[in-house]
């Protein structure tokens, strides 16, 4: 199993009653911050990510959120490029994994292609390229994209990025959202192309796209894996069976918030308040109408969610969730190394998960405790998880070759938009053919 260190970059010194008065996104008053608080939140975050790289994690992973107090990373590529250079100079064989630039949000998709290409070059071919569809508040409210256009924009932008990476000759692009007389990016990625991962929260259409097109699928389980995991992962593997691809665990990524200390009691005492801070003042303080704007969720999805909101797990209680609530729902796994490795291993084993994104810094967790969590996990948990799938016949096709992956071609298949006419600008087959040619060259 591949294990990455994942962190967001929350502001770590919000007032105790923050969530009673404020939302975590869009309208959050910046007057709540101090200059030193902002600096240390970002500096500590970067130092913790570098500790992870040095401690032997397989990858370091970050996300993109604008105008948010729970993740001050408007462009994850800025962080990823710093990590790419630092890890390259230190000779660390670690994947750099922005999870990453949302293509439903992006209005300059060629820039996304260029940034990722440059990170891949800077890291010597260690980029894993994540493309979330797009959070509604971020794409819609922060970047002005009509919600019903988030998925069509994602589809067109993804085709443009893949083509920009792989087409040997300059090409014109006449899209709905981008018109360019020539696309000919310098540099292009060292990998041909980098592994592509899509983040989703349960829409079967997104799963179908990943499985048909040979992308990895990341499920970021902040809603509480004990509540949502079985639904989501069973659905994913059912779709895999329908598409007719093997149940290869390496095509599935799972994010879990984890807190590990010497004993269960000490873990709760040390991390409990910071976990409550993280979820009450983070996800819990994002109002539902900002996560689901009209037009952004397919009409059948809305109907299904009205009848059964189970995919959202603990979300609706998160603004006041206690440590116990978070543990019971599986939002966090907290305890001694033995407790943590037993729970994580059994969960990943049960649901066929081949990539674990361990979220080891969160909320107000101070630098020293985050460092402790990362180091303890690296020393006493990760070594007990790595062999989970080694005795199977599966190869990891969604990981950089330099880091032991066995890249395979991007294939033609469904887009992310339910009910859209075939995208006039997309050329999935020729893109796939190009990618395949490059991959085998």
């Amino acid at each position: 199993m591949k294990i990455t260190l994942f962190e967001q970059a929350p502001y770590r010194q919000l007032p105790d009653d923050f969530e009673q008065h404020h939302e975590a996104v869009c309208s959050t008053p910046y007057s709540l911050t101090t200059r030193d608080g902002v600096y240390s939140s970002i500096r500590d975050f970067l130092d913790e990510m570098m500790l992870g790289a040095r401690a032997g994690f397989d990858g370091v992973a970050v996300t993109e959120h604008s105008q948010s107090s729970y993740d001050m990373l408007p462009n994850p590529d800025l962080i990823a490029s710093a990590l790419a250079y630092m890890t390259e100079t230190e000779g660390l064989e670690v994947a750099v994994f922005p999870m990453g630039r949302s293509l439903g949000k992006a209005r300059e998709p060629v820039r996304v292609a260029e940034e990722y290409a440059l990170i891949d070059v800077m890291s010597g071919g260690r980029l894993v390229a994540g493309f979330p569809i797009g959070l509604h508040y971020d794409a819609g409210l922060n970047n002005g994209v009509p919600p019903v256009e988030i998925r069509p924009r994602f589809d067109e932008n993804l085709e443009l990025v893949l083509r920009a990476w792989t087409a040997p000759e300059p090409f014109p692009f006449n899209g709905r959202f981008s018109q360019l007389s020539q696309v000919n990016i310098w540099p292009r990625p060292l990998q041909s192309p980098p592994p592509v991962w899509i983040t989703g929260i349960g829409n079967p259409r997104t799963m179908q796209m990943c499985l048909e097109r040979n992308f990895g699928f990341n499920y970021l389980s902040w809603f509480g894996a004990k509540l949502t995991g079985k639904r989501i992962f069973d659905r994913f593997w059912d779709v895999a069976d329908q598409v007719g691809v093997p149940r290869n665990p390496y095509r599935l990524g799972f994010l879990q918030t984890i807190a590990v200390a010497e004993t269960d009691e000490r873990a709760e005492a040390e991390y409990g308040p910071h976990l409550e801070y993280a979820f009450r003042k983070g996800l819990g303080a994002i109002p539902p109408e900002k996560l689901g704007l009209p037009g952004g969720i397919d009409i059948r999805g809305v109907e299904a969610l009205v009848k059964d909101p189970g995919d959202f797990g603990l979300y609706h209680q998160m603004r006041t969730a206690s440590f116990k609530d978070l543990v019971d729902a599986g939002v966090v796994i907290c305890g001694s190394p033995a407790t943590v490795r037993e729970q994580v291993r059994s969960f990943c084993s049960e649901y066929g998960i081949g990539n674990l994104h361990a979220m080891l810094g969160f909320g107000s967790l101070p630098r020293e405790l985050a460092m402790k969590n990362i180091q303890l996990f690296a020393d006493e948990v990760a070594p007990h998880l790595r062999d989970l799938w080694t005795d199977t016949e599966h190869a990891h096709h969604w990981w950089p070759e330099r880091l032991g992956g066995v890249p395979s071609a991007i294939t033609a298949g469904a887009g992310a938009t339910e009910g859209a006419a075939s995208n006039p600008t997309s050329i999935p087959t020729s893109t796939a053919a190009t990618a395949r040619t490059e991959a085998t060259a």
């Binding site: 819609g140 009509p146 109408e289 009209p294 037009g295 009205v306 009848k307 006419a421």
Partner: protein
Amino acid sequence: MTATDVSTPATRVEAVPAWNGRLTIQVKVAGSGPPLVYLHPAAGPGPGLDPFVLRLAERYTVYAPEFPGTSAGDPYAIHAVHTLPDVVLIYEEVLRRLGVTRPVLVGQSFGGMLAAELAAVFPDLASKVVLLDPIGLWREDLPIANWMATPPDQLPALLFQDPSGPAAQAMLALPEDLDQAAAAIAAMVWAMGSTGKFTWPIPDRGLRDRLHRLTAPVLLVWGREDRLIPVAYVDEWQRELPDCRAVIIDDCGHIPQVERYSETLAAVERFLLDN
């Protein structure tokens, strides 16, 4: 007179092919007499014509086209429509195919914006235009509420001066059956998403530049307590339109034909009878 007193002319639905076969526009048709076209608001056409429109159908043949994406069973039609100028051409085509000439154009909110666009792009299309609390203009010091990002439980207070009143309650009522309620909610949410393609994030697509072309007589009806789009926009419309009278209705929010049915009907009928 109250809404419930209205007799109900039979409504039929015509499926009108448009946009070179890429769309089928559903048009509710009711009544008889000279043509009147009704354009629905952002939340969609709803299952039936509202009492105000049915009352007009006693004197007019009412045509109520459904916006692409808002018709039952055809949600993805919205993906075949890409620009507001195309929307205007589609509506003109539908009316031409129906043989509707020189209709009265009536539009509510989002439908009001569409009616104004249609009449501005095709100045000879409409005989008269009635706009009920229309969107389409923007002034930074008069912010328009973002109805799509408003929590559902706060929408009634955004739409109605008295959200607990009987008219508001009747309009907001959901079917008791869970499946039907879920379908109704999904249809309304998707309708907002579909119309939102042409209003998000700011409901201003440059209509102000085109309004001078709207030369037909216009009646503006506005609820004085409209919390979605303030009544002060009446002045903006009157500034841009060559022939525009306005009626402001007291104790009334964003949907005057529902919240103040009688006053709205009286104002509209007065305007339509006036030569």
